[in-house]
Structure formats: structure tokens, C-alpha cells
């Protein structure tokens, strides 16, 4: 068996304290990348939390509704018309409005987003709606998001407070999370209750009725051709509605994501911060590798005198870079998970560490260390063994 002396590993770990410091440094760069990319992803992902739960393959909205938070509605009869088409199983209405919720403890009013639906229809894939259906049918009741911001006060069954200056009772909770347009939290209630709160508000505020719908959710029959039905619906219905598939490249979810990517600075700011963390990591790892090479300069030169070629020394430095990236990634990853949990609790944003994102950052860390290694190795390659004498 070919078993070389593991020079890279031994050189790195020889000085335990320096090795530990190096790993902390790499881990910190990894943590910063996780934090910044995490915020970016969380802000984007959070925008999609509500629409990811829409229980239908086809979505109908007002064409002016460029993103979910724009308060543009369309006529509910378009949904009834859609029900008549072949392949359409059902069409549900979703009503959305923003209104003040009073924190029952501090009596501070904070805006929340109310999403209303017919509890007898499965409009959203939120299992709590089914389990609290009976209670939702009662007047002046609602479910509240447990990931609402702390400003809304306690979120629990039985909490009684005021919504739009009117009494309301929480009969259950669900878990979703906040986004840009949800204010401090999410409430779900029945459409009947929605009328109670929003049908006759003051003259300055929008009055709501069942006549207008915010998002139409169209459920297709199993096996139906989504693309064809979207096309048929759009052609047959008037132009005051926009019909699109929920998923896919031209889908509603993608459209929402693209809207926030193109119309907010989130992507720019957090990509910049992530790249800066990457650069800090490159410089840090370069320092570590360069110090190793500089400290062992005459030993490496002796190896070259003995007959080792540059590519062996290149391999040693690259191995050191890879060891640093893998072993530095682990603590960085673990602390990041802790950070994500804390960030979820503090902001209500949707921080998720998918295996794809972890892999991407691991590869980024590899590249980070390889770039540093490539710069540091030039020092070894220019080492002239004749100078050792």
C-alpha cells in the first residue's frame, strides 16, 4: 500500500494552538457567509411562504398585482366562470387585508396581515385550518401565526384582543412566518368573519366585500394539463384577470421571487456582504498557508534539493488548503445553525438551511481555500534550492 508521510496534515497540526486559531478563522469566514447568504435567502424565501401554501395548480390575480402585497383585487365572478371550464375542479377565493392588532398586554396597535378564506374549502395547505375548522366558523375568531413578531404579544389559544378596534379571540395557532408585507404577523380567519371586520369600516378605508378577491386559487382535476388550462382560461376570460400556473418557470411563485430579486436591494446588498466574507476568508487562509510556507522555507527548499518537484509542493499546499476548508467548515456550519435558530425566533423570517445551500457554501469554502492556496504556493515554487546553502 502506498502510504506517504502526510506532510500537509502534520505541518498544519504540529502547532496545536495555531491550528485551532486557523480553524476558528476559517470557521468565522464560513459563519459570515452563512449569516449573509442566510439573510438573503430568508428574505426571499419569506416572501414565498404564503403562496407556497396555496392549494391549487392555477392562480388568478388582478394584472396590476405585481406582487402579493399590492392591494389590487378582481371580481369574484371570474372564479365562478373559471369553475365552468373542463379540468377545473374548484376555484377558491382568498381575501387579504392589513389591519391593526392590539397587543393585549401593552395595548399597542401593530399592523398584521389578515388572510381570510372559507374554512370548508381547502384553500391553503395549512393543516391547522382543518383542525380548528369548527372554531373558525364562530364569530370573531381567528388563528394566529406563532412566528409573528414579539410586538403582537402572546400568541396562544384563548387570547382575547382587538382587531380593527373590534373584539377578537384566538382559537388556534399555526406556523408560517412573517415577510415584507405581513407587518408584524399573520392571522387567518373565515370569510364570514372577514366581512365582520372589513365590510363597514370608516370612510377613509377600503371597504371589502365578497365581490372582490385578492388571490384566486384554482384546483384542477387530477391529471389535468395545467399549461393548456391556463392558456384556455386566459384566452376565454376578460383581460381584467391574469391567469398563471402556480409552479414552473412562468409560474406565480417564480414571478413573486423575481419581483423581489429585481425590485429590492436584498440581492445586491447580501451578495456584496457574502463576497466580502469570502474575500476575508481568502486573505485569512492565505495568511495561514503563507506563514506555514515561510516558516518552513528552508525545509521545503531542502525537499526541492533532494529531488522533489514543484508539483509535490503544490499538492502539499493544496492539501493544507482543503484540510482547512473542511475542518473550518464544520464549526462554522454548527454555529450557523445556532444562529439560524436564534434569527428565526428574533425576526420571524424563514431561515432554512437546505442541503443544497450547505453544499454550495461548502464548495464556496473549498474555492476560498484553493484560491488562497494558489496564491500561497507561488512562494514555494519560486523557492530556489541553491539558496539553502
Amino acid at each position: 500500500m502506498i502510504q506517504r508521510v502526510p506532510l500537509a496534515w502534520l505541518n498544519l497540526t504540529h502547532d496545536r494552538r495555531r491550528f485551532a486559531t486557523s480553524l476558528v478563522g476559517v470557521g468565522f469566514a464560513v459563519l459570515m457567509m452563512f449569516v449573509f447568504s442566510g439573510f438573503m435567502n430568508a428574505l426571499f424565501d419569506s416572501q414565498l411562504q404564503l403562496i407556497n401554501r396555496l392549494n391549487g395548480e392555477v392562480i388568478m390575480i388582478n394584472p396590476l398585482r405585481t406582487n402579493v402585497s399590492v392591494p389590487q383585487t378582481f371580481a369574484r365572478r371570474r372564479l365562478y366562470q373559471a369553475r365552468a371550464f373542463e379540468g377545473v375542479q374548484n376555484a377558491y377565493a382568498l381575501y387579504i387585508s392589513e389591519v391593526n392588532w392590539e397587543n393585549p398586554e401593552t395595548h399597542q396597535a401593530n399592523s398584521v396581515r389578515v388572510t381570510a378564506l372559507n374554512p370548508d374549502e381547502s384553500v391553503l395547505t395549512i393543516p391547522e385550518i382543518d383542525s380548528y375548522r369548527q372554531q373558525l366558523r364562530l364569530p370573531e375568531t381567528a388563528l394566529m401565526d406563532t412566528r409573528s413578531r414579539p410586538a403582537v404579544g402572546p400568541v396562544a389559544i384563548g387570547v382575547i384582543s382587538e382587531l380593527a378596534a373590534r373584539r377578537i379571540r384566538l382559537v388556534g395557532t399555526f406556523t408560517m412566518g412573517t415577510d415584507f408585507s405581513s407587518g408584524n404577523g399573520n392571522l387567518i380567519m373565515s370569510d364570514q368573519n372577514f366581512l365582520r371586520y372589513f365590510a363597514d369600516r370608516g370612510p377613509d378605508e377600503d371597504q371589502r366585500s365578497f365581490a372582490t378577491v385578492d388571490i384566486g386559487v384554482i384546483k384542477l382535476e387530477p391529471g389535468a394539463n395545467v399549461e393548456r388550462i391556463v392558456e384556455t382560461l386566459q384566452e376565454s376570460l376578460p383581460n381584467d384577470v391574469l391567469v398563471m400556473a402556480r409552479d414552473g418557470d412562468n409560474g406565480f411563485i417564480m414571478r413573486e421571487q423575481q419581483y423581489w430579486e429585481e425590485n429590492s436591494l436584498i440581492g445586491f446588498i447580501f451578495s456584496l456582504l457574502t463576497s466580502m466574507s469570502f474575500l476575508v476568508g481568502v486573505i485569512l487562509v492565505y495568511q495561514i498557508l503563507y506563514t506555514d510556507v515561510a516558516d518552513h522555507w528552508s525545509e521545503y527548499a531542502t525537499l526541492k534539493a533532494m529531488g522533489y518537484r514543484n508539483d509535490y509542493l503544490l499538492k502539499v499546499v493544496i492539501q493544507e488548503a482543503l484540510i482547512l476548508s473542511v475542518l473550518g467548515f464544520i464549526p462554522g456550519f454548527l454555529v450557523s445553525q445556532l444562529f439560524y435558530t436564534m434569527a428565526i425566533n428574533a425576526t420571524g423570517l424563514f431561515f432554512q438551511m437546505t442541503s443544497e445551500r450547505v453544499m454550495n457554501l461548502l464548495i464556496t469554502t473549498f474555492i476560498m481555500c484553493l484560491v488562497s492556496g494558489a496564491i500561497a504556493v507561488r512562494k514555494v515554487q519560486t523557492t530556489d534550492p541553491a539558496d539553502v546553502f
Binding site: 506517504r4 534550492p385 541553491a386 539553502v388
Partner: protein, 239 residues
């Protein structure tokens, strides 16, 4: 006998030469700044001899040693090492030449992170003999009186012991030519003597040629031959 060899150019006799230098000149720098350090060196070292190279500092000893060691490219003249002409060889070829030469430096240049045995094994790995590298390293370290120190790292070895590990690393592949640059300069009298004695015994046993630079008058007695280099020219020889 040496004189006879010098005059003869037959193949049989040249095969008995470890080093053969003819009209070697060498300068540092280019153009107006060029400074010649070696002038018309012609020198033949038969196999199995210990040759000491002395001379004042700046006389070109180290330059000559690095040229013989294939660590610099030749400019003109002829230099044959173990029957291979170095003139005109590129860097890649010089690396192959160097693998047949043992180098001993003033500093031990051992990796602090490796044990004595691992430092020596690094040299064996160049030959590709991975399965026997540990045995070879152990054998060579034992020959240098370090059998009980094979798993020590350099920081737990004395200066003389470290230099002996460095010699083990230079000799483990049984090179026919050993180049040493002031191997005792950093050592006290006794360990310096030990190191030279080991070098003496082992080079005799392996029938290797040793070319050693030293200012250390205490060790001149091991030499078969002493060459004096002054201002880049061979001045005198004592045999």
C-alpha cells in the same frame, strides 16, 4: 595513482570518477553587472574519496558545490556527475540528477512536525519504495546511532542528533555522491566530531564520494584530499 587517472581519458577510468569538471566558468548577473565567481575550474573526484573544499569566504566554494549538486544551470565548461553531463540540462533533468546526490546542509532543515524516521522516509519516498521505507529509515538511523530516537521529533533531539538525522536523510538512498556544506558549523566540538566520524564511516562503507565545504580545522583529518579555492580559482591541493 590519482595523477595517472587525471591524465587518462579512457572510458574505463572515467567510470571511476564521481565528478569530472573541465574548464568551468560561472558568473552571477547579466551584462555590465556580471561578476565572474569561478574561473577555469578543472577537477576530477574519484569514487570513494572524501574531499574537503576550503577557502576564504566569497571564494566561490558554495557556488561550485551548488553547480556540482545540479542546483544551478551551467553556463560554460563541462561538468559530469556519475557519468552524466550536466551542461545543457534543463531544470527538470537536473531534478533527476539531484535524486542521486545526498545533500547535507549547515542547518539540519528537518521538518519539526515529522519524527526522525518520517523525515528520513521523505527521502525514501522519492525512490517509490513505499513498503520498505520505514525499514530503510530505521536501518539508516540505527547506523547513525539513533536507533532509540527514530520516533522523536527534532525538538526533542540535540543539535548533533538532528544533524545525524539530516545525514541519515541524505544517505538513506545510498547516493554515490554526497555534498555537504559546513555540516559541523552549528555544532559543538564533540558532536561535530561525531557527525564527521559517522559521515566518514558510512561513506567508506557505501563507497560514496564526499565533497565537503568546511572551515573546521578539527575535521580536516578525515579528508583524502583538500582543495583550496581562492577568488574563484583552484589554488593548491594537498593529498
Amino acid at each position: 595513482m590519482f595523477k595517472a587517472q587525471q591524465q587518462s581519458k579512457t572510458n574505463f577510468l572515467s567510470n571511476n570518477l564521481a565528478v569530472q569538471i573541465q574548464q568551468l566558468n560561472y558568473s552571477f548577473g547579466i551584462g555590465d553587472l556580471s561578476k565572474q565567481v569561478l574561473f577555469d575550474i578543472s577537477l576530477e573526484l574519484p569514487k570513494g574519496q572524501i574531499v574537503i573544499l576550503t577557502g576564504p569566504s566569497g571564494s566561490g566554494k558554495t557556488t561550485l558545490l551548488t553547480l556540482v549538486g545540479g542546483l544551478r544551470q551551467l553556463q560554460n565548461g563541462s561538468l559530469r556527475i556519475l557519468d552524466q553531463e550536466l551542461m545543457g540540462l534543463g531544470d527538470r533533468d537536473l531534478v533527476n540528477v539531484r535524486r542521486n546526490i545526498g545533500f547535507i546542509f549547515q542547518a539540519h532543515n528537518l521538518f519539526e512536525s515529522l519524527t526522525a524516521s518520517q523525515n528520513v522516509e521523505m527521502a525514501v519516498e522519492l525512490t517509490g519504495e513505499f513498503s520498505s521505507k520505514r525499514d530503510q529509515a530505521m536501518a539508516m538511523l540505527s547506523a547513525l546511532g539513533l536507533a532509540d530516537r527514530v520516533n522523536y521529533k527534532p525538538q526533542s533531539l540535540s543539535g548533533g542528533q538532528k544533524q545525524r538525522v539530516a545525514i541519515a536523510r541524505a544517505l538513506v538512498n545510498h547516493p554515490k555522491l554526497i555534498l555537504a556544506d559546513e555540516p559541523t558549523a552549528a555544532l559543538d566540538k564533540k558532536s561535530g566530531r561525531d557527525v564527521v566520524n559517522y559521515l566518514h564511516i558510512l561513506s567508506r562503507r557505501e563507497n560514496s564520494t564526499v565533497l565537503m565545504i568546511t572551515h573546521d580545522n578539527r575535521i580536516l583529518d578525515v579528508a583524502d584530499r583538500i582543495i583550496n579555492l581562492v577568488d574563484g580559482r583552484l589554488e593548491s591541493e594537498r593529498i
